[in-house]
Symmetry: C2
Subunit: 457 residues, 2 copies
């Protein structure tokens, strides 16, 4: 795909410079909204409004939705009121809400002024829901059917009203806005009897979500049940909107990126990498870097406390990085596995004993293997090959025993911290490698110097 | 959801023990296949076949597909040939292929024996595609329309043949299996004229994928274009199948988990956490742990090389963990941001200069901030508060200068290694924190002792 877009971008630029507008239009209408948006991102912003005006209404709206907020703002500022009205007219309500949330206040004012009264009311209604709630990502444009309708009447209603709906494939049977059941277009089309009431073929075991539910939970339900859309009900159990699978896919992608950023010790950002400048990156990265740097004071204090021992046995210092890195890696393996399983809903707090026992067994296996490897490496490479006669069998034993203990401590902390964090209502992703490394570092140094003190001096 | 299932599991167990089969059946048919499967996972395996036999055919198939391979195998081994035939009959071809891929050889033989000849041929055809290719996850059950059909004829064909198709909502207009265009049921239902030829309303700008394309690429295209399904063509450009959005969501989830596991220095696993035993976890974790432990030999050698300097200035040792951790954290922030952006297709190799420049600027900002903080901390906490008079202004300067250099090196390596890995055809996720930490550790120690040597001795 990438190659195709690169060539396309060149072609469009040449055509635009040559003012070949009718060719340009013919080329653009062969493309998909997402691709047109991608090409627009690459060309000189000055040309975008010209190109955009060449698009037919529907493709223009599709393209508009897929563009980055900066480009959307640029276009809106260049639009006449009539042009703005046309674009907003074609948007689905949930996309209009997303747009309003991204734009500065004066642009929002113009958008709301150009929206139809009905749409303006719906936008305002949706804007009231908290960020990341089901209400904030739902759309109010769904097909509702009355329980008294027959299959034929239902199909007729879909044909009459479907054009503005975000999906027609799942329809909602309601009485006084109370959701009685769902019926798919597939069921309607494949129904044996056109005169059967929709209540006869509808599915009454409706799975719905509340407007205040977390968007990530909703997205995971759509993914789990393979639904095209999920109905959203308010606290009185009345149907207020639907969330479609495409929005769920976007939410899952966004939430996963956030989790990954947190696991790597960054504050989550809603801009993508290329759109963030160095200052943005700095702001998202410095808090954890600074906090973790300051907390490394403890490891420093531990080393200072054993300074005299280290001065007598400088060879011990050489193994500090290896012990710390192995501890950090062991801990991050456990914590990252657990954080991912938590976010996929595979684990809950009640599983902690099972998880801890599994990690202890794994730690014993890993610790034993690493210690044996490490002992061999120290005696063969460090002592014999490098001829470092300061290293005795006892030194090697101290290092390897510390290694095994470090792995055990790291795996236990790595698995239990994220689960406890979630239980306490914190985000488990924050309890990932950088945070755990700091704790494991301190503990492993204490073990190291403790054993060294006992055996070597 | 979790709470609901827990109660449900208890209810079912009590009903099963009391042999209340008709109540059990009434309860089960109110549930969704995914939920029934989740409940089955929790109860004693002995009871599963009994409960499964209570399910109506369609729900039984839905449930079967959602169960873990171990439970599927247990059920199949307990099935009579007739029961097995009924379940396979109800499966979509792509689900049947997934099943065959998971089962041991003797179970596969029984499955293929009980499948209809047509289905058996399709399963065998799909099994030939390489793992993780578009061909391996597609289904051959789609609605195809002939170009000569009118809208009314197309709708009639969907109503006649749609029942066995994985989706009816996107239909494919083909001539001699060559794909001419796609038409959605929405377009058909909303068409103004029932006698218009489908060729008139179909979308000719078809976006398709090749059977050999990577499944992750396909899933990302579905997510990008918000399509319900993507057509899959062979090397002769003939339509051979489709991939639906629900399979794409599963692929994205799976591939993201793999990426996260690799980033944390684990071999990716296709079992989920609770299903893996300690031995599985050990096998996936020990290779990177061992490799990284051995590679820490270099850091050890560097320290040994400066042993005499360290013996004279033991205070330098106390800052090693802080420098190493800050380097590791800085590097993993950069590498993880880049790896995620690469896997979402937001970055390509040509962006490397732009990325490197952004990381240099960020590194300067982070490095400067951390150095100032660190200088203050060393002079105030370590020297004045703790009264460690070994620490001079020059020592603090050496530490802070190393800190700034380490952050710079870490960010540069962190951003460039994953991009180069991808360019060379390796998986960028492997170039994440643990790997980069080892390199950054060694470089930062060299800088540290180099400057210390120049300024302190």
């Amino acid at each position: 795909m990438a190659e195709r877009l690169v060539t396309m971008e060149h072609t469009l630029r040449v055509l635009l410079e040559g003012k070949k507008y009718s060719t340009l239009k013919d080329v653009l209408i062969t493309m998909n909204g997402a691709d047109v948006a991608a090409v627009f991102e690459e060309i000189d912003p000055v040309g975008i409004p010209k190109l955009f005006r060449l698009l037919p209404k529907e493709l223009a709206a599709e393209t508009f939705v897929e563009m980055e907020p900066e480009v959307q703002e640029l276009l809106i500022r260049g639009f006449s009121d009539a042009e703005l009205h046309d674009v907003i007219e074609e948007l689905y309500v949930d996309d209009a809400v997303d747009l309003v949330e991204e734009m500065p206040a004066n642009v929002v004012k113009r958008i709301l002024a150009q929206a139809d009264p009905q749409m303006r009311r719906e936008i305002n209604d949706l804007l009231r829901y908290p960020e990341n709630s089901a209400g904030s990502i739902m759309t109010t444009e769904y097909v509702s059917l009355r329980p008294g309708m027959t299959v034929a009447e239902a199909i007729a209603r879909i044909r009459r009203t479907g054009v503005d709906k975000e999906t027609i494939y799942t329809c909602y049977v309601t009485r006084d806005r109370k959701l009685l059941g769902t019926v798919s277009v597939k069921d309607l089309l494949l129904a044996a009897d056109d005169d059967a009431p929709v209540t006869q073929i509808m599915d009454e075991n409706v799975i719905s979500v509340n407007t205040m539910d977390d968007q990530e939970k909703v997205a995971q339900m759509l993914s789990k049940y393979n639904f095209l859309a999920l109905p959203v009900v308010d606290n009185d159990n009345l149907l207020v909107g639907i969330i479609t699978f495409d929005d769920a896919m976007d939410v899952l992608e966004e939430e996963t990126t956030e989790d990954i950023e947190k696991m790597a010790g960054m504050l989550p950002s809603d801009k993508n990498y290329l759109r963030s400048n160095a200052w943005d990156l700095f702001k998202h990265r410095i808090p954890w870097l600074a906090l973790l740097m300051v907390s490394a004071t403890f490891t420093g204090m531990i080393i200072t406390g054993f300074e005299s021992a280290l001065a007598a046995q400088v060879v011990l210092t050489a193994f500090i990085p290896m012990l710390m890195d192995t501890g950090g890696n062991s801990g991050s393996q456990a914590s990252v596995s657990i954080i991912r399983a938590l976010s996929l809903g595979e684990l809950e707090f009640a599983d902690l004993p099972k998880v801890a026992w599994k990690e202890i067994q794994t730690a014993v296996l890993c610790g034993a293997t690493l210690s044996i490897l490490c002992f061999g490496k120290i005696m063969l490479v460090d002592r014999m090959l490098m001829g470092n006669t300061d290293i005795t069998v006892i030194t090697a034993f101290v290092v390897c025993f510390t290694m095994a203990m470090t792995v055990l401590v790291a795996k236990l902390i790595g698995c239990s911290l994220p689960m406890c964090a979630q239980k306490l209502g914190f985000d488990p992703a924050v309890m990932a490698s950088p945070f755990i490394t700091t704790i494991v570092d301190a503990l492993s140094l204490l073990v190291y110097f403790g054993i060294a003190n006992a055996l070597l001096f």
